[in-house]
Amino acid sequence: MSSRIRIGLIAAGALVLLALPFYVDRFWLQAGLFAMAASIGAIGLNLLTGATGQLSLGHAFFLAVGAYGYCALADIVPTALAAIGAVLVAGAAGGLLSPIAGRLSGAYLGIATLALIFIGQHVLFNASDLTGGYNGRDVPALNIFGLSFDDTETVVLAVPFESMEKLWYAGLLLLAACALFARGVLRGRPGRAMNAIRDHRVAAGVMGVPVARLRAWVFVLSSMYAGLAGVLLALIVQRTTPEYFGFALSLEYLAMIVIGGLGSVAGAVLGAVFVSLLPQLFDRYSESLPLVSASGTGGIAPGEASSYLYGAAVVAVVLFLPGGLVRLGSAATPRALTLRKKEPTDESAPA
């Protein structure tokens, strides 16, 4: 793909995204926003799991810290500050875990982080003064310089803008910023060091990479991404409930990065969009899909169908599309070819 076509495509895509709130209804905007929040969280997880090789099953916990942190901080400071504060708190929570995040890897780290989910939910249920307990909390609408992201209508070009329309732009902005930041990190010096840790821990140390410290920092960074995703989610749903931040959510994020492509930013976004839009599409169009029957008619329910599909997608992508959805686009680059495994073609250049 030549770079001019590429830039053209990107510009066109951006234009469509910017115009959407004028055309589609609340449901789709909300679905899109869920995908944006998921993308931000998935980028963070991909920095940790994909690029640094640190398996984490505790991502949902940091989403919860972000969501609840926002609610709690909004009690005492302006909401804009609360949002920033929540991200920092999530980062700090990640930092608290650094004795474990810095030392463990592989399955041990994965299951150690699983503990966070259970401990986190326990706290969410029991510290009711802060978290509202099982009832959860109402999420105060974000208010930046007098612009409130709530359901009061602001009419823009004759289109009434409610919370979703306004959040849409905030979400886009945040996602773009997060994606660019992560890309910079991955392509720069920290990214190389992170990959080195993933590929050969001892060698990385000998090259001067402070392994434990860097692992801990990546954990912090990834927690901050998760925290931001949590804040955005809370703003979309307008209510936080403890059940949501469970094991299944963490698994969903892992599925996203595997489906999209480990270690890449675009992959995380693709995976997040895939995983979060799929069930919505199924639900919405269950009536017109073969094999899937509408809820309440017996047969395979849409929820089940999307579960099947998303489980199968995880498997299929790893088996048949190593590198994830993101490889679909870049399959033709020479570098991808040398690593790909297939029969030698006859007319091939000498090594």
Binding site: L339, K341, K342, E343, A351
Partner: protein, 266 residues
């Protein structure tokens, strides 16, 4: 027991678009020791992988030609079946099972061998490398590089092969140990095992082998009786380093000719 010869005919193989072997033809006669020499990337390892059917593990494949061992067409078998046919490879880079003990590594080596003979081969192997007996209970990953190389070789011998494929068996071995390996290869061979030997240490290889092939960028560049090759100028210069006396001067000359690395000024 009846032995068979290894025939490699017009073998072409590669990794994806990378062509590593082109029409290589080679024979290892019954009971012979054949050496394969060649520079980095010449395709020596690829040749052995093709014979032992493990190219697939590296994303490579055979594109043409045939390989047979006696009556058996090896190029139609899977790797474990090649072992069952009596062809065993000691891979490049040791590849010991790091977390298993030395003893278990040897047991793993014997998985492909007839059951009754294990204790005999174990004794032979311990005879050859006493250090392995000393370290029997230690995880193999903790052995020194050379000790791992010995273990890898010993593990290969445990399978009691009819044809042994050795990929740089003296890599990283101390001179004394390398000499001992060379002796041992001759001895194994005397006991009836044919050997296909890939070596960088051409001196040893040519001494042990009866015949030799030289690979260059995937093709057979030279072949013939080992002694003849050892006498050829080309081989002497490139693989035997007989100009060693001038090496220091040589080194300086190259250093002068090559781009010089200056200090980095931050």
């Amino acid at each position: 027991m009846p032995h068979a010869a290894l025939q490699v005919g017009a073998l072409t193989a590669g990794y994806g678009p990378v062509r590593a072997l082109r029409e290589v033809t080679l024979t290892v006669g019954d009971g012979a020791v054949v050496a394969v020499l060649g520079g980095n990337g010449a395709g020596k390892t690829t040749l052995l992988r093709a014979i032992s059917r493990t190219l697939g593990f590296h994303g490579g494949a055979v594109a043409g030609g045939e390989i047979s061992f006696g009556e058996t067409r090896l190029d139609r078998l899977a790797a474990p079946e090649v072992v069952a046919a009596g062809v065993v490879q000691v891979p490049e880079g040791r590849r010991v099972f790091a977390r298993m003990t030395v003893a278990d590594n040897l047991r793993a080596g014997a998985l492909g061998a007839p059951r009754g003979s294990r204790s005999v081969s174990l004794e032979r192997v311990h005879d050859l490398f006493p250090v392995l007996l000393e370290r029997a209970a230690q995880p193999a990953g903790l052995l020194s590089g050379g000790e791992q190389q010995m273990l890898a070789l010993a593990r290969g011998l445990m399978a009691q092969p009819k044809l042994l494929l050795l990929d740089e068996p003296t890599l990283g071995l101390a001179p004394l140990a390398a000499e001992r390996i060379a002796e041992r290869i001759r001895e194994i061979n005397r006991q009836g095992t044919s050997v296909l030997l890939v070596e960088q240490n051409a001196a040893i290889a040519l001494r042990v082998a009866s015949e030799a092939y030289v690979l260059e960028t995937g093709r057979v560049a030279l072949s013939g009786p080992a002694a003849e090759l050892a006498a050829s100028d080309e081989v002497r210069r490139r693989y035997l380093g007989v100009v060693d006396e001038d090496a220091a001067a040589d080194a300086e000359r190259i250093a002068d000719a090559a781009p010089v690395l200056r200090r980095w000024q931050p």
